[in-house]
Subunit: 323 residues, 4 copies
């Protein structure tokens, strides 16, 4: 089979996520194994517009599979939202001989990829975000590491919460999606999970549950709040004022975005990177790589962007039974 | 919906796996939420035969979701392989009023469950083994923790291997299956993975690859060997004798079976435990819970035991491209 | 040698710290080995006043050496600050036959211990706090775990900080002491450490350093701020407004108080617990156990409380050279 | 104060240890801050003889403080044991203008340093070995990471050991010294520790202790064996044959030498590296940096090599009381 591309570029865009380096490594090494030249583009579309591009060889990506962050760095790029910016991006690809591009990022990044493809530079999206908020795929690179990081932090907070019989409210990331929160709730044995996809219980209902748990003999009261719900500090004040139980809120913050990727993230990141290269070689246009129903598959970018994602109702129900 | 069972038992059987405690917790709490009485059976079928059974309440399973091993312990039970033993097991269930059973373990444990079901005690299997060697399911409880544990150990060995420019041969668990080895190979950036599902390269081919990598500038040479292949010490001697490169073999051993479960293991373990209870409540007979194509489903035990499992060819191919 | 006590109590007081369980275990098992009866007092002096006391045997402290928090729990006790409360505490010790007490906590807890000793119940202090702010000792139980936890969190933040070329301000615990901050600064390669023991540089000096580092090619700018300095959010705003470099502040919070203790914490906790029991057996009065100049020693509580602690000047100087 | 040296070299020698990179970073950055030129010598004395030397700047040691292994690599060097080799080493230092050297390693490496100093190249030793077997110092770089790694592995083995009520024999590193074993014994709650510094109990005594513990209700039987004692597989067979308790031996092996260094290792490594540079600047001859009685100090290499080290008797006694 002859390849439909000869020189490909790779960039990371949007928020960084653990595992992006494993994808970069897979793109580079699979690309070279398939006979391609691979160019690394620094700082996302921003670096593309500035021509911050260099060739990567197999050794350039040595010893990065285990590192958090992205060696290609990432940045927002307002210029690339406009048609002039996109045209300049396509032009810059031609300057470096890039005829195929792998874009690792989220929905916003894929929109940019689609524009480039319309301008003659075929681009394939790879879902990289800790938030799992990309509808076409059951997995996004970085999610597993973020959940394990948050879970470990919550476990530590639980220790001290139990020692003092405190109530702890812990706010985790996820933007408008509740996946990290729901997974953390089940995996760390929290008493309650507040996520944007479900009706938030009233403060009174929350307080009632805490008091019931207290009288059942529970020594810690953990409430996981998704970023999309927010309001953790106020909730803590309300609970403490009403119940007299010492209550502390923690917003876990940016530590959830970093760290050495877990095995799951390294595997999915590697497989998806390899798949993206193979799609470019086959000449398939404007695709997003996805992990769906247990398989690595691909979708048309536009169709992918129109899909809707729902939280698993049975999982949410189970999270409430496990208290 | 009225439940088809009123008192259920839960036991862990075969080798232990991280996440089994999360399943036990889910069985107990979901069971109680569904209006059932839940009995914990200590030390697998062995404890059943000896009547080592006690009621569990919601607090009995507090603070265990994060612990490795199994609070119910596990043991082999030769007596239960025989019809007399199985009859005594069914009798003992009746003594404690147990009319449904959740059996957490591997294929051997499911065979016992099927026998009990034939004797009137409906039993549901939940796949718990680090080896991922159960054909009907894409996931078995404990696998993710075992892979991460092995990967972390390999990463540490890689540090010292690089400092000394050594060759390191690392043997990981998995019995006759190569999943742990293949996942470790990709996720830790090993140069070679030897698994039982694929033709083992000859010693000469292995040595040739090491020498090629050396001359490409690689500073470490990691070879992951699956338990089902073995022979790590001899291979190390052969490599050192032929190449002069200092070579060490490590058999990671039992540390791979323990440790606090990862988020993935806690989630699958919790969901599968809840699913098993719901199957018992619905009166479905002789089922195995599985995670297949991204969904929690269930199969007939006998059909499940006849299925065949294959290693993913594309994943194996990618593992070779990433070197 | 005949023991000067026959029944001893043990309690944890003030903020909890990882390793307290290892101390409890050591007190119980060493006590029993020395022929004593050991009573666990729940929730600090509060539980003492309420008679929340039970005998502990060797099995009561099984499987706790690796757990964060304290199985005896802890609480503040305003009543015990007053002479009436102290008298009631001494009385309650007599009710349970307690003639010696091990108090695990900080300076405030030791003051209580001294009062009890004056009332005839010999009490020995063991330094347990993550803050390292007890003057008589070079080590306090929990410090090493807290530093490693904070360091790991900072390392994760560094990953994402580097990917985005951000400035990150990370506020760590330590109350009025800068030890956690200084250790984190050196161990995580931060550009700057702000601690209460040293003159805080002005905002302008901080911003100048960041800009110098940026022009030297540094891709991350980490500033560790001790709790006793505070003001992280305002500093972040100031930096971003002046330099245009995206700047984020994180307050690590309560996760620093929990988690499975490190080896150092388990060892010191075990040795200090054993030492406390031996001091009670020898009949030494009102002592605090300390680790000083590489040895386990003991001081008079009142003398210990009068000591002053200084941050190591050479260590602070080195922290500035390592940027 | 004017410096007594102008260009210094740094090398790592003997077995690698986590934290060596933190020392290299400290030597480079402190050296540059003191106005020196710093040369990195690859692969120990071997690289010195081959002139494998390059200048290091502040950026050369970016992002290494958290990495295991040594970026300078290490190797044995038989030629350097002979006077001709040493003379060539001193000559090579002159070729690169090196008038002071920091040697990170163990006793064998310090002997080499002393020879170089006799030949006019002042050399300072920094104690780097996981084994803690250097008499003049209470701390050697890498020990804390190795202990924590071994402890974590033992904790995982304990999980599965408890699930199956097995006896587990775990052999840890330390060459002829029992420090790692003793620390692991106390910190992981082992039932027995066998170290070369103390009379080994007979097999019969060991078996008697296991049986006593079993009848007390203990569910796991962990025996930590120091490398200097060995014989773990035979002991396992003997125990299983005599008691019928399933017994497994694990030799933890090389994973103990790698991994990201703990905070303690990074701090000591950084401080000792800075101290070594300052000794060179002051013109102090043939010194070894040590951490003794809570202070960073230095000794004459020859005196240091003559010192004897003893295991702490009280710590060994406590380890036996904690069972």
């Amino acid at each position: 089979m002859s390849n439909k591309v000869s020189t490909i570029g790779v960039l990371t865009s949007g928020g960084d996520a653990p595992g992006m380096n494993a994808t970069i490594r897979a793109v580079v090494r699979t690309g070279i194994a398939r006979g391609l030249k691979v160019m690394g583009i620094q700082k996302g579309y921003n670096g593309l517009l500035q021509g911050d591009v260099r060739e990567l060889n197999a050794r350039s990506v040595s010893d990065i599979v285990q590192r958090g962050g992205t060696i290609l760095q990432t940045a927002r790029c307002l210029d690339f939202v406009k048609p002039e910016g996109q045209a300049r991006g396509a032009e810059m690809c031609k300057v470096f001989g890039i005829d195929g591009l792998v874009v690792i990022g989220g929905d916003g990044s894929f929109q940019g990829a689609e524009k480039l493809a319309n301008l003659g530079i075929n681009a394939i999206g790879v879902p990289g975000t800790i938030d799992l908020d990309i509808a076409c795929t059951d997995y996004t690179i970085g999610f597993d590491t973020a959940v394990n990081t948050a879970m470990d932090a919550i476990n530590k907070i639980r220790d001290t919460s139990t020692s003092h019989e405190r109530c702890s409210i812990i706010e985790v990331m996820g933007r408008n999606a509740g996946y990290i929160a729901l997974w953390c709730g089940i995996s760390s044995g929290a008493e309650m999970v507040l996520i944007p996809e479900k009706q938030r219980p009233t403060d009174e209902e929350i307080i009632k549950t805490i008091l019931e748990n207290k009288h059942k003999g529970k020594k810690h009261f953990l409430i996981i709040v998704a970023e999309g719900i927010g309001g953790s500090y106020n909730l803590a004040k309300k609970i403490e004022a009403t119940t007299g139980i010492e209550t502390r809120a923690s917003i876990l913050g940016h530590l959830q975005r970093g760290g050495s990727p877990t095995a799951v993230d390294r595997i999915h990141a590697s497989m998806m990177g390899a798949k993206a290269v193979d799609l470019l070689c086959e000449g398939k246009q404007k695709r997003v790589v996805a992990f769906k129903n247990g398989q690595y598959v691909d979708y048309d970018i536009n169709e992918a962007l129109k899909m809707k994602k729902n939280i698993d109702d049975y999982m949410y129900e189970v999270s409430q039974l496990l208290i």
